[in-house]
Assembly symmetry: C2
Homo-oligomer: 78 residues x 2
């Protein structure tokens, strides 16, 4: 079964490193990773907040938020 994962970012340098090294390192046989740029898709901000995302980059796996290093707070993207 393939689980859903969402990687939220804002195009920052810290975000890019996390996308390249962590989000894309997930097992494609088990995870379908959607990449969401919250600076460009502000309509997804509420969804990210519902998952408990406070800052980007963040990876939500099976509904659980994992903040990876720190690029920007979500409040800065509004």
């Amino acid at each position: 079964m393939v689980s859903k994962a969402v990687f939220y970012h804002a195009g920052c340098e810290v975000c890019n490193a996390a996308e390249k090294q962590v989000a894309s390192a997930l097992d494609p046989q088990r995870y379908n990773v959607e990449i969401v740029h919250l600076g460009q898709s502000k309509d997804r901000l509420e969804e990210a907040e519902r998952y408990g995302v406070k800052s980007v980059p963040a990876l939500v796996i099976d509904g659980q938020p994992f903040h990876i290093n720190h690029g920007a707070d979500l409040s800065q993207l509004r």
Copy 2:
């Protein structure tokens, strides 16, 4: 080619969630993930610091540190 990844933790709840959901989600065809408990293996603290690890849980992929949420600072483990 299989890259090396190291997941540093200290047995904390935040660490356990990150181990279960992130470290074990990496693609086994591309990453060989070593799990290191820094509370039990204090001789690995310096190595973690050399990678730039400041807190646990942290995942080092291809030599780059990614702090995942925040369980404990490394200084608390000495």
